[in-house]
């Protein structure tokens, strides 16, 4: 049995009095697509940011490929070369073109040569069908295009795991589709993905496992079938019912 690619145990994080994560444990296997759902402010984003050490948990341990990355003197910058992240607000570098947004990490973090970095970046941009936008600045791109560049930027480092923090929440409904398509393609290629989202259609279609979080704890988890058709816990049922009512457009199946 191969070890999980990401393992988190007992993650606890509090900001002053407020307990955001109350001891969350999680295993993700290679090529698994895990979708985390739940009400806002329940620690989903915080959990994601703990997994790539953008946030340091107060308690708990995290392993990437059996290496404990939460150890006190571990170089967290190296972790982020292996674990990519895509944000709700895109966070593209405003002073750089789409192409340079992708190549800058290759040049300044991986110390790739300029020509090689450029070629690699063009490839990644092509993979998300935005080659013709390579010389445009973020302010000249639509939301969906920005997010796809952000995905290309994260993928350029060739990570083992990709984290998505509500990637479509800031997008126009019409643009959500193109981003979800890109993510679906990524999943089909075998990328390990952990996605926080409200897009139930995506969860049902692409996820291998769905986790429902609330108040800093994992309430229930299971396969899409188990979760959508036979949720065991009342709270899960309540939440899913509300969400599917709200996002009714995904229910035409």
């Amino acid at each position: 049995m191969k070890a999980p690619i990401i393992k988190a145990e007992g993650i606890y994080k509090a900001y002053g009095e407020v307990e955001v994560l109350k001891g969350v444990s999680l295993n993700v296997n290679e090529s698994e697509v895990v979708v985390i759902i739940g009400p806002s402010g329940t620690g989903k984003s915080t959990l994601l940011r703990c997994l790539n050490l953008l946030i340091k948990p107060d308690r708990g341990r995290i392993w990437l490929n059996d290496i404990e990355i939460s150890a006190p003197y571990f170089n967290s910058n190296r972790v982020r070369e292996q674990v990519g992240m895509v944000f709700q607000d895109f966070n593209l570098f405003n002073h750089l073109t789409a192409l340079d947004n992708i190549s800058i990490a290759l040049r300044k973090v991986l110390h790739m040569k300029v020509a090689e970095a450029k070629e690699r970046s063009l490839q990644e941009l092509n993979n998300v069908n935005l080659l013709d936008k390579k010389d445009l600045y973020p302010s000249q791109l639509s939301g969906g295009q920005k997010q796809r560049v952000a995905i290309a930027r994260a993928l350029a480092l060739d990570p083992q795991v990709m984290l998505f923090d509500e990637p479509t929440s800031a997008l126009d409904p019409e643009l959500i589709g193109e981003v979800l398509e890109a993510m679906k393609t990524l999943a089909e290629k075998g990328m390990t993905m952990i996605v926080v989202t409200h897009e139930m259609g995506f969860a049902r279609e692409v996820a291998n496992r769905i986790i429902f979080m609330e108040h800093g704890n994992i309430v229930e988890e299971g396969s899409p079938n188990e979760m959508f058709l036979h949720p065991q816990i009342l709270r899960t049922r309540e939440f899913l019912w509300k969400i599917t009512e709200l996002y009714g457009k995904h229910e035409n199946k």
């Binding site: 953008l54 190296r78 966070n91 405003n94």
Partner: protein
Amino acid sequence: MEELIFLYTRYVPEFIEGTKTTLWLTGISLLVGFIIGLPIALARIYGGGWIRKLVIGYVEVFRGTPLLVQLFIIYYGLPEFGITLSQTASAIVSLGLNSAAYQAEYFRGAIQAIDSGQIIAARAVGMSHIKAIRYVVLPQAFRLVIPAWSNEAIGLLKASAVVFLIAMPDLMAKAKIIAGRYFSPIESYLAVAVAYILLVLFLSIFLSFVERRVKIPGLEIETAR
């Protein structure tokens, strides 16, 4: 009126000498102010504990006292502690240290105007905090700071006039000399005022040009229209 024309034609070389001094003094002091000011801004934003308190203290002191007082303390006061600086050195040190305090605050404003998501994203692609600041925050901050920094550059050009009080041969000093020689202070000082206006004008035009050259679409502070 003839005296004015006489002044201008007869003393153009002197004015040019004075202008040169004013210009290079302003330039070097701006540079010193930048070299000291930027780290101060970074220390204030990213530093902890006593470093922050120290730099805040520095800024308060140099913004809170008149440039003239700082100049005199450095030129006339320091020798009592055994530190004797030449006129040029005193001028550069006081203008530089003063400018640093203002530049630090302008840089701090520009850096803090940049969305925190930029650093988070930079770290998410593996950059260290220092690399994130160097490759993502500062390039953007430099563009945002231009209007405020232009203000400082122009201000320093004019403020530099105080150095004539320690006998630095700048534009203002020349004005005084010429006024003394020909007993026509109004013509002399007016001529120098015009000279300063012209210098400031050229500086403004140059800085506007720079601003346009480095402009990036979308990288501005949002203004409602």
